[in-house]
Amino acid sequence: MPPSNWNVLDFEKPIAELDNQIAEIKRLTQEQGQDRSADIAALECDRDRVIEEVFSNLVPWDRVLLARHPKRPYTLDYARVIFDDYVELHGDRLFADDHAMVGGVATLDERQVMFVGQQKGRDLKDRQYRSFGMAKPEGYRKALRMMKLAEKFKRPVICFVDTPAADCSVDGEGRGISEAIARNMMEMSALETPIVAVVVGEGGSGGAIGIAVADRVLMLENSIYSVIPPESCSAILWRDPSRFKEMAAALRITSSDALALGVVDEVIEEPLGGAHRNVEAAARAVKSAILRHLGELEKLSPRKLLDARYKKFRAMGVFEDLSKKRKAEVVEQ
């Protein structure tokens, strides 16, 4: 961790303070040549204890902040560790190349895979270049084009989801953002090749599900998956944007919520203090989870794979069916 107070969340401040102390001692060690490894070890131990304490008391809104953390690894940060021989592909062959949606062919150990995902930018210029990870219609069409290529050459698809929402600009509307997302979901539900999606940061609404109709949907521990950002929902439903923290809890958007509601198949544990504190370790955890699920999926015949995928999404939703109860009542009468 760089000893910097920039980009530190409020609840991370005590951790950052200890980080700074450790860095300072390390610097002095180098300059003065004294061995203070015992002090460092003690401080590191302290710091880890503080992290554990802080992270065991996180409220849902804190998870939102972590999912949007400016230091959080983005799609390409994971790709760099997970894949080898990555060849990025561009364009939807219809209109443009969307920089908010990246992807290409890559190798995952000995497998050839197609990889697709939303990409956010790190600094101001980069963020604008990536449209803040908000993909336009051409982004979704680019993603679909690549998935169709994967289907043609019988390679699995790995999707990384990290978007606040799909683009909602006037231009995007004119080129059919709704149609692009809807078509992706429809085509993905019938794509004859295994698909694994990983929500690595923000799973923002239609923008997320537009590349997440997968055989297995995995989610990093501190990522979120929501139908609407809590701020917007609070503004619309309660006509009070200031109650976003409460709304973050009410919407049940954390990874453990998504798992409990049957929306994701597995939550991937993050390194202590969040993925941004150890990108390598986080990416390795993601990689091993992907490999495990791909191994299982590759055993299925294409037909079984598609049946299972359809059933998976078909079963989502919670409601009560009174018709059987009513029939029983009629019989009794």
Binding site: A165, A166, C168, S169, V170, G172, E173, G174, R175, G176, I177, S178, E179, I181, A182, M185, M186, E187, S189, A190, S205, G206, A208, I209, G210, A212, V213, Y225, S226, V227, I228, P229, E231, S232, A235, I236, L237, P241, A250, L251, R252, I253, D257, A258, L261, V263, R309, Y310, F313, R314, M316, G317, V318, F319, E320, D321, L322, S323, K324, R326
Partner: protein
């Protein structure tokens, strides 16, 4: 920048007027058209399919009214009744809102599905009511999926009239999953080679527009309907304020190639009939016929 107080109160008044148009007709004989301000005689308005005869403003219809003007008389049989909402997230005030809208509409959810005939042609028909803003929660998504699955089983075309503000926020992520669920169901319909016709009515936005409503083989829209992805309030939250005047209307979507036609209510039934006839050669005969011919083949 906040609007001046007088401006806001005028906005409220306008919303009130609009809402009067949305809900059932106010008691009395006359209605003021929210489109042109014309005073309309209620009986005349109903006879005119609830379209203003001066400016052709299309009033929103209840599910019942939509069935009445779309299906042949007495042919609609509702299916999948008895699916009711629970509160899966324990979302505050959700149950009370459901109870309120149930009392107001007499329906269990916004989506009403069944089988019907349109000019003698059998269809699987879905219509929507202004229930919880027409929002799509688990029940809504389930009904759309079951309607489509029934059509696949019975080899019927599907016609759905959409009216929705989007995914139901109170069911959170489960509502988002209904988008995937309904889109996957439409894929099954495509695999079976069956026609799927969507009619977008005011308003069709967000989660519904970005799922099964945009996947029709044929997509029609009523004139002047609000049709689009992100609602004004969501877009404003995302920092997008300036939007052109005709933005997200049926006509905008037509101009941008996203729908086949803007069809007035008066011409809807005949348009649907023509399109159904165009598709009928691709429709495989009903199951009785298939079984019958199989037996005949076996006997031979």
């Amino acid at each position: 920048m906040t609007p001046a107080p007088w401006f806001r109160s005028r906005g409220r008044a306008a919303r009130r007027t609009a809402r009067q148009g949305v809900d059932a007709l106010p008691d009395g004989l006359w209605t003021k058209c929210p489109g042109c301000g014309e005073i309309l005689f209620n009986k005349e308005l109903v006879k005119n399919l609830r379209v203003c005869n001066k400016c052709s403003h299309h009033y929103r219809l209840s599910a019942q009214e939509r069935i009445q003007i779309t299906a042949d008389e007495g042919t609609f049989t509702e299916i999948e009744t008895g699916l009711v909402t629970v509160n899966p997230l324990d979302f505050p005030d959700y149950e009370s809102k459901i109870t309120r809208d149930r009392a107001r509409t007499g329906l269990e959810d916004g989506m009403v599905v069944g089988t019907a005939e349109i000019a003698g042609r059998p269809v699987a028909l879905g219509v929507t009511d202004w229930f919880m803003g027409g929002s799509m929660g688990s029940v809504y998504g389930e009904k759309v999926s079951r309607l489509i699955e029934l059509a696949v089983k019975k080899k019927m075309p599907v016609v759905i009239f959409t009216m929705s503000g989007g995914a139901r926020m109170q069911e959170g992520i489960l509502s988002l999953m209904q988008m995937a669920k309904t889109a996957a169901a439409v894929a099954q319909l495509g695999k079976a080679g069956l026609p799927y016709i969507v009619v977008l009515t005011d308003p069709t936005t967000a989660g519904v527009h970005a799922s099964f409503a945009s996947l029709g083989d044929f997509i029609f829209a009523e004139p002047g309907a609000l049709v689009g992805f992100a609602g004004a309030r969501v877009a404003a939250q995302a920092g997008l304020i300036s939007r052109p005047a005709d933005f997200q209307t049926s006509e905008f979507q037509l101009e941008h190639g996203m729908i086949d036609r803007v069809v007035s209510r008066r011409e809807m039934k005949s348009t649907l009939t023509k399109v159904l006839d165009f598709c009928s050669t691709t429709v495989i005969p009903s199951p009785e016929l298939v079984e019958g011919s199989k037996e005949a083949a076996d006997a031979a």
